[in-house]
């Protein structure tokens, strides 16, 4: 939330080409065959931060205490965020099957998303807030 009101989930979009996995020098990252999510091997991760730079949306972030990277693993196919969102009746999140689509389009930096949201909510003035 860079601007109040313009909150949004900043999560991994599972791009088809997985730039983070390719950028990993220690092969700590892999792709789950079942969900398509990026899995982190905590033992192999050296916290070099190359995946953050490689990601078009700068989605991965470092664990604040331990030396390893954090990427959404879709909770092994049962995402808890979707569960609570449904339960609360907000219905923002939804589980979808993987289709032919350019998923990397959804991997965006928070500033870009906020700018769009602000323009949508607050009108032309909105972009100045970011």
């Amino acid at each position: 939330m860079l601007v109040p009101g313009a909150e949004f989930p900043h999560l991994c979009a599972q791009c088809e080409d997985y730039p983070c996995v390719r950028a990993c020098p220690t092969s700590a990252l892999s792709v789950s065959e079942y969900t398509g999510a990026v899995l982190v091997n905590n033992k192999a991760c050296t916290a070099c931060g190359k995946c953050i730079t490689a990601c078009p949306g700068r989605v991965p972030h470092m664990h604040p205490i331990e030396k390893r990277i954090l990427i959404c693993d879709l909770c092994d196919g049962d995402p808890q965020c979707v569960r609570v969102c449904r339960e609360g009746g907000w219905n923002v999140f939804k589980k979808v099957t993987r289709r032919e689509q350019t998923y990397s389009l959804y991997a965006r930096k928070p500033e870009e998303v906020t700018q769009d949201l602000c323009a949508k909510f607050y009108g032309e003035k909105g972009e100045d807030f970011v």
Partner: protein, 623 residues
């Protein structure tokens, strides 16, 4: 150490620029819990002996930002801001929503104690154990939205430079003041986000007097561990399930109260409380949805209620006004109370008030007060710097609000709050203007009237409350009942949102307290042994008052005179508060709270609670 607490408090002395960690004994934390209760205790310990001499806006005042053990666990975490209030000259526990409390606890602190006074504008930057007092001259003088933008940018830049490998930082949570606080306006707020504010008490002015523009905190740790996490999770789930069923606030925001309990029950202020009834169909909540809402679900961290909505005026003369909901209080005080009956005008007023860092309730009250004086030709255009203060004219009211925030012309007088402004203007005009001031002990009455008797406050709610006209802390009998002030003290001391206690089981909050801290607590024990201590401390400090203002015991425990005028219209026409009934009930309340016939806490009561030093200070007042 009691579980559920981070264990340490941060003390920042702005005069010397030094910070240190402070700890409190387990007994203190057990008795006063946190937030409002602990604030009363800390203030008494630090200022007690010289309370009457301590200036609320001087360097000797202590400004407190305290969380409680339930902040972050109980859905809807808040932070309690306190100190010696520049409005009532007592202690007010003023809470504000947002992520600040949770972030602070994740950073490893239970609260912040600010002392001294800085020479140049500063802000506090806290990242876990790193605490820094940084220069804020760039943000000084800026309005709310600009302050937040500048601060967010600066903090994110700072974090990015210090931790280059981390990835994207979520921005820190912040509390700040607007121009009103900088200019020491007594109705200034401590704000969070754009439109969240701790208004009652006027602590924005205290922050301004200390030249503390903002506090930004980023915590990357965990919340302090709960004693019984499984039970806590279960209770959170139970609360959420209950809230999901309640559509009133989830769907319509607290503004739905504006129609359901306010307008329909005839308890909403209309034209400075001259009336409490209106049938303007243009002001129902559904009109807000159609015309100004751009986002329907918005809540702070972990809150299932999501009573916040985002409102924007996109076209017309108020174009570009942004605020949240506005909630019920602002719909009433910046709408009907000023004779404004259009959602656009209301959103415009709310957005101006937010930008200036003023309190919507109390500034609305002052504006209404001024407008009534104009209506009665007590104030004329020359007194108001040429402003024609007609009911319903949002633009003019906006101009006057700006004058108040910058203390220009007539704004300088009105910036003192309703009570002090009434005294000052009364002196100028040589007449008694207090009958037009709807306040109790310097604090404006919340937008819930008592005349129709259909809303939740009781006839003595405001008169006997230790926080004056605060509608979130209303006195009621019996003392261990649901409408009692002692229960409000629990909400403000555990520090969570009091909107999330509606519809839960009677002892739910005490069960929650036990699950988090591991200490058993019954309603009886809370009322008879713990909360009552906070109540006595607050009452004692309120009566001590000073230096510019001192409340007379009993004589000032009254409803504003307006509440004895019969309602002029609506379904409850002619109803009013009954003077003899009020008197009788006040007597009863004094008795229940252990106060003597004048409302001063009895020696026996105080000694029984172990507050011997308070008893010494009360001795002079008893004679």
């Amino acid at each position: 150490m009691i579980e559920g607490y981070a264990g340490k408090f941060l003390e920042a002395n702005l005069s010397s620029g030094k910070t240190k960690n402070v700890r409190f004994d387990d007994e203190v934390l057990r008795d006063y819990v946190g937030g409002r209760g602990l604030a009363a205790k800390i203030l008494w310990d630090r200022l007690g002996r010289r309370w009457e001499k301590a200036k609320p806006l001087g360097p000797e005042n202590v400004l407190l930002f305290l969380t409680g053990p339930l902040t972050g666990y109980y859905p809807g975490g808040r932070i309690c801001v306190s100190g010696k209030s520049p409005q009532s000259n007592g202690v007010v526990g003023s809470t504000v929503g947002g992520e600040f409390g949770v972030e602070l606890r994740c950073a490893g602190y239970d609260g912040i104690i600010v002392t001294g006074q800085s020479e140049k504008p500063v802000y506090l930057f806290i990242k876990d154990a790193d605490v820094e007092i940084r220069d804020a001259s760039k943000m000084w003088g800026k309005d709310a939205k600009q302050t937040m933008t500048l601060l967010t940018r600066e903090c994110r830049e700072l974090l990015r430079k210090r931790y280059p490998l981390f990835g994207e930082w979520r921005e820190p949570a912040m509390l700040y003041i607007g121009p009103a606080g900088e200019n020491l306006v007594r109705t200034a707020v401590v704000a969070a986000k754009w439109a969240h504010a701790a208004g009652y008490g006027g602590y924005g002015a205290v922050m301004g007097s200390k030249k503390l523009k903002a506090i930004a905190v980023k915590g990357t740790g965990q919340l302090p561990e709960a004693a019984n996490m499984k039970k806590t999770e279960k209770l959170i789930q139970e609360l959420c399930d209950g809230v999901y069923e309640n559509e009133l606030w989830r769907r319509w925001g607290t503004g739905s109260g504006g129609y359901e309990v306010g307008a329909k029950m005839s308890s909403e202020p209309v034209r400075n409380w001259q009336d409490e009834w209106h049938d303007e169909k243009s002001f129902g909540v559904d009109k807000f949805e159609d015309r100004v809402w751009v986002k329907q679900c918005w809540s702070d961290f972990g809150c299932p209620t999501n009573c916040l909505k985002v409102s924007v005026v996109k076209t017309g003369k108020f174009k570009g006004a942004i605020t949240d909901n506005p909630d019920y209080e602002l719909q009433a005080y910046l709408g009907t109370n000023l004779g404004i009956f259009t959602p656009e005008g209301n959103v415009y007023m709310a957005s101006i008030i937010d930008d200036l860092g003023l309190c919507g309730i109390q500034t609305g009250n002052v504006l209404g007060f001024a407008a009534e004086l104009y209506q009665r030709r007590i104030l004329i255009e020359d007194d108001l710097d040429g402003l024609k203060l007609k009911w319903g004219d949002a633009e003019t009211f906006g101009k006057l609000a700006r004058k108040i925030a910058y203390r220009e012309g007539v704004g300088d007088v009105l910036a003192e709050g309703t009570y002090r402004a009434a005294l000052k203007l009364g002196k100028m005009k040589r007449m008694d203007l207090l009958p037009y001031a709807v306040q109790s002990k310097g604090i404006s009455i919340g937008a819930h009237g008592i005349r129709s008797g259909k809303d939740y406050p009781d006839i003595i709610s405001y008169a006997c409350s230790v926080q004056g006209g605060d509608h979130t802390s209303t006195a009621g009998l019996p003392l261990d009942g649901g409408g009692s002030e002692l229960m409000e003290i629990f909400n403000d001391s555990g520090v969570y949102c009091n909107f999330n206690v509606f519809g839960v089981r009677r002892n739910f909050r005490f069960e929650f307290y036990k699950a988090v801290t591991g200490l058993p607590l019954t309603r009886k024990e809370w009322c008879n042994k713990r909360a009552i201590k906070t109540l006595q401390l607050q009452r004692a400090m309120l009566l001590l008052g000073g230096p510019d203002l001192k409340w007379k015991p009993k004589a000032d425990d009254v409803n504003p005179p307006r509440f004895y005028e019969p309602l002029p219209s609506g379904p409850y026409k002619g109803k009013t508060a009954d003077r003899s009934a009020v008197k009788e009930k006040i007597k009863e309340y004094y008795n229940a709270a252990g106060w003597d016939a004048n409302g001063v806490p009895k020696s026996k009561t105080l000694k029984g609670l172990g507050l011997d030093d308070v008893d010494d200070a009360m001795r002079e007042l008893r004679t």
